[in-house]
């Protein structure tokens, strides 16, 4: 378990990092970037696995099961969507450009 204040420090530093990391993003990448960050919170899958993993009653398992399905959908859907969009920005693969 992470101690309360340690978590608070992690939270604070991560918040600044997130703000700084994308502060110079060009408009053309806004949608892919939103999709990409959408993929990154797919890490919730790890938590959902733990939740279902330590579920004991039927109800807990049912909710945990739903959690894992949703989380896997977030991660996989987020990845494929982002990848498809960014593929188009790949110059080497573009159809010669116009």
């Amino acid at each position: 378990m992470i101690e309360g204040f340690t978590a608070l420090y992690i939270f604070m530093l991560a918040a600044f990092t997130g703000y700084e990391v994308i502060s110079r993003v060009p408009v053309i990448l806004h949608t892919p970037l939103m999709s990409g960050s959408n993929f990154i919170h797919g890490i919730v899958l790890v938590g959902a696995m733990v939740s279902l993993g330590h579920a004991e009653t039927g109800l807990q398992m049912l909710i945990g099961f739903v959690a894992v399905i949703l989380a896997a959908g977030n991660a996989v859907g987020g990845y494929v969507a982002t990848e498809r969009m960014l593929e188009m920005f790949d110059r080497s693969k573009s159809k010669g450009g116009v």
């Binding site: 997130g18 990391v21 938590g47 579920a55 109800l59």
Partner: protein, 465 residues
């Protein structure tokens, strides 16, 4: 083993941040998402070896594998097959799933608490409830956003005294939340009511918001989901979730601000008022002039003999899937020596960058694509501004009429070009329901029709010359 898991989680968190950094430049963006993908796979794989996961029996493990299989399969199928134009609502859906997952994690923990387990003390309880509230709102709100963008729910719905109702619902939700967060014993029924209220709140908050504002709302829900994931990360003692969730929360908030700024609408306005859906019809004002139609062949001639053409794509182009035809037209014009540039309004389409993605799909070089600030000074020197299915983002009343709801919104100055050709499906007004004075201007000609068909006619026209 457990320190190995921690190391992988740590590495994943670092790679997520680097990946996000890479994703903010067009050259490295692709490798950014691929890196993040590897990190996600690694983090998921090592989680199977976490004692919390494997030590409670084979059934749990089996269910995890099945659930990952179902979720992955459905998401993979849908994400692979969706058209690029429908991408914004798919992002909303995947994001909503993440929010729902965070909420469900909290639900499992709270049910465990109700069943007499120690889940880690008061702070954990409080953050579980907060994460659940945010996650549930992001879940149901994203579902409404999806329905609206997908066209399943066209109207903006506004109940009588909607705002007061929302506040009351919010208060009730908070009340249940407080009971769950602060009491030593909770019942399953309270948990159920709490989630019911939170889900209803997400729906109620999103219902009155018009489609034009949806991108900002989706971005906001994205940031909220990140925050919910971070809170549940604390509940489960998982640093990777805290870091990744928080980074998304803050970068998502910044992105939301950038979008709202581009629309000249404070976020609070978008959430708590709703323009174009106040019920009030846009005030009838006298507009000088009439809309003047043009034949596709004439429009083709005008463009073919122009020196500089600036193209302003909008949602109409996306709907008609006209980007490939447009690329063909651009090629033809350039072969004739015409300079062609694209002007992209920050909120053109349904999401910032939406147009860029579509144009990239059609193979249009992004060097030809310009932001609002870069391109606006060039309109007076352009012979033709070709507006394709865009409306509010080129409406000059945003500059001239202080009474207009969109007054002050930065627009593309298409009206300043020598000629303006507007491809438009019908005579209706734009998403905001405001009449567009550009369409009535002396130098504007209207080319009615579906964008794909109209551009096809333009291509035929240019080829004949």
């Amino acid at each position: 083993m457990s320190s190995f898991i921690e190391i992988v989680y740590f590495a994943a968190a670092v790679i997520f941040i680097l990946g996000l950094k890479k994703m903010s430049s067009p050259v490295t963006a692709r490798s950014g998402i691929v890196w993040a993908g590897y990190a996600m796979v690694a983090a998921t794989a090592v989680t199977f070896f976490s004692p919390a996961v494997y030590s409670h029996g084979f059934l749990n493990l089996l269910l995890i594998v099945i659930a990952i299989g179902i979720g992955s399969y459905l998401a993979y199928k849908s994400a692979k097959s969706v058209e690029m134009t429908d991408m914004p609502q798919m992002i909303a859906i995947y994001n909503g799933m993440g929010g729902g997952a965070a909420g469900a994690i909290a639900a499992v923990e709270l049910v465990r608490f109700a069943d007499g387990h120690d889940i880690g003390g008061g702070t954990v309880q409080l953050l579980a409830v907060l994460g659940a509230l945010i996650g549930a709102i992001a879940f149901s709100g994203s579902a409404v956003a999806y329905a609206k963008l997908q066209g399943l729910m066209n109207k903006t719905l506004r109940l009588p005294s909607h705002q007061a109702l929302n506040i009351a619902l919010f208060a009730v939700t908070l009340l249940f939340g407080a009971v769950l967060a602060f009491s030593g014993e909770v019942s399953g029924f309270t948990i159920f009511l709490f989630f019911l209220c939170a889900l209803a709140l997400g729906i109620m908050v999103t219902l009155p918001i018009g489609g034009a504002d949806m991108p900002v709302v989706i971005s906001l829900f994205n940031a909220l989901t990140g925050l919910a994931v971070a809170f549940e990360g604390y509940v489960l003692g998982n640093a990777a979730m805290i870091i990744a969730g928080t980074v998304v929360g803050s970068s998502g908030t910044l992105l939301t601000q950038l979008m709202a700024k581009a629309m000249n609408r404070p976020i609070s306005n978008i959430l708590f008022s709703s323009f174009g859906s106040d019920g009030g019809a846009p005030e009838e004002e006298d507009i000088a002039g009439t809309m003047k139609e043009i034949e596709a062949s004439d429009a083709a001639v005008t463009m073919a003999y122009a020196e500089k053409v600036i193209i302003v794509p909008g949602y109409g182009m996306a709907v008609a899937q006209a980007q490939h035809k447009l690329a063909e037209l651009v090629q033809l014009l350039e072969d004739r020596g015409v300079t062609v540039k694209f002007a992209i309004h920050p909120v053109a389409g349904r999401m910032p960058g939406h147009m860029n993605v579509l144009l990239a799909e059609a193979g249009i070089d992004y060097d030809k694509i310009y932001d609002l600030d870069e391109i606006n000074p060039e309109f007076p020197t352009a012979d033709v501004a070709l507006v394709i299915g865009a409306n509010d983002v080129v409406n000059p009343v945003a500059r001239t009429n202080p009474d207009s709801p969109i007054y002050g919104m930065p627009i593309l100055d298409a009206d300043k070009a020598k000629n303006c050709i507007v491809i438009k499906r019908g005579k209706g007004s734009g998403f905001s329901g405001i009449e567009n004075h550009l369409f009535y201007a002396d130098n504007t000609r209207m080319l009615y029709g579906d964008a794909q068909k109209a551009i096809g006619e333009l291509i035929a026209g240019v080829k004949q010359l």
